[in-house]
Symmetry: C2
Subunit: 255 residues, 2 copies
């Protein structure tokens, strides 16, 4: 413990290297140890002397503790997230682990480095669906009761927010995105624009545009970000190209 | 109109160049014409042959039309935003202008490039306040009725979302952030953690940590992002350093 360790929690962005910040790249390049979900580490070109510590997607707490142990032992640690580590990702897991663990861990040189989230990449591809007030909600009920998710969905509909839905479905819980659409159809106009944005920036990127009435929630998987409009959100046609999804800056201007 | 123009809407991030994506840098480097708020253009090093078109902060619609006119005439245009162009920024203004203008504008080669928003930079500095469901709300009532903002604040409180408040105050409307705190104090626990994150990443960066009861809303100006916790958000002490602001991944685990 005599050497001074360092820990950086960083985001790789949605996929392509040109959506990753130079700050994150610099922290990765100088790290002695790189920890993260195996599929994320596979995206990186590291030097032979850099130690890789891949782990399973669901082992966030254990990965965070491991990162803290390595930094406490003097390592220069990069703890890797997809997207932005601050949005439904590793920053919270790391701070929870620091809070619950060895008190010396909190005195380590720890910083969170911001990144581009999948939500923002999806919004950019779609046009400007998040151009106005919006809510980001994770549909995963692994760590919170479904009743909390349902209440938040209802409040977001009542407030006429645009919705950006994260973690819409997994093999372990395929039904929550269906529950979500059933609930929202009872609260919002069926003509509300909906976009399923899957794996944006990656080779298997796929965008599905629809509306709340006709949407097939079964399209969504864990790599999908679902954006559901407010009452103001609309499509802007542009000939043969995919229409833009626009939530205008003003509210009520067309009423 | 015989040459083929191009238009990229891009974000400079919150300030430092190492929070700007390589994709945005590449679009800036090859642009023939760069348009944006004068203070943003002043941050950039451009080549002598690149034409700068600075404009006032409030001239978003006119700036967007100008960008479309230049691209329609064959220019390679970079339309510059702070932060992420998709979050309360130029992407919506650009698409609104394309929708309202010359139909040929919609057929132009236009892309929105995502970036790191001020909200994410603030969250990274603070720890992990956006680690769970949150709402992003602009307090500006230039383009929407205050009643809409107030309803959204109330719904966000009812849904126990973390709140990320953009555009909290300006010289023209200094009172809305005070109205916001008065409303939220009637709906949320006074001990709820609050952070005012001003000019994050810039030389005059300033962070103020407080709680809903004791917060001085007068601290906020247009460069401030205000984050107000959910019932789960808490401080994590770390000795002499500023405590982390944490919204844990789970909900109700301590109840």
């Amino acid at each position: 413990m005599s050497r001074r360790g360092r820990l950086r929690v960083l985001g790789l962005g949605p996929g392509p290297a040109d959506w990753r910040t130079p700050e994150a790249d610099a922290a990765l390049a100088r790290a002695s140890d790189v920890l993260g979900y195996a599929a994320y580490l596979d995206r990186l070109t590291l030097a032979p002397k850099q130690r890789r510590h891949p782990s399973d997607n669901r082992e966030e707490a254990a990965r965070a503790r491991h990162a803290l142990e390595l930094a406490a032992a003097g390592a220069d640690v990069a703890l890797v997230s997809g997207g932005d580590p601050g949005i439904f990702a590793m920053a919270a897991a790391l701070i929870e682990a620091a809070e619950a663990g060895d008190p010396a861990w909190r005195a380590l040189d720890i910083e969170v480095l911001p990144g581009v989230s999948a939500m923002q990449a999806a919004a950019a591809r779609l046009g400007a669906p998040l151009g106005h007030d919006f809510c980001a909600i994770s549909l995963s009920d692994n760590l919170k009761p479904w009743a909390v998710v349902a209440r938040r969905l209802a409040c977001a509909a009542e407030g006429d927010f645009v919705l950006a839905l994260h973690n819409p479905a997994s093999k372990a819980r395929p039904e929550r995105i269906h529950d979500t659409f059933t609930l929202l159809r009872s609260l919002k106009d069926g003509a509300t624009p909906v976009a399923f944005a899957r794996a944006i920036g990656r080779a298997d990127e796929k965008i599905t545009l629809t509306d709340l009435r006709d949407a097939d929630p079964g399209v969504a998987d864990m790599a999908t970000l679902v954006i559901i409009g407010s009452s103001e959100t609309r499509w802007v046609a542009r000939g043969a190209a995919r229409p833009w999804m626009l939530t205008p800056r003003g509210y009520g201007a067309r009423r």
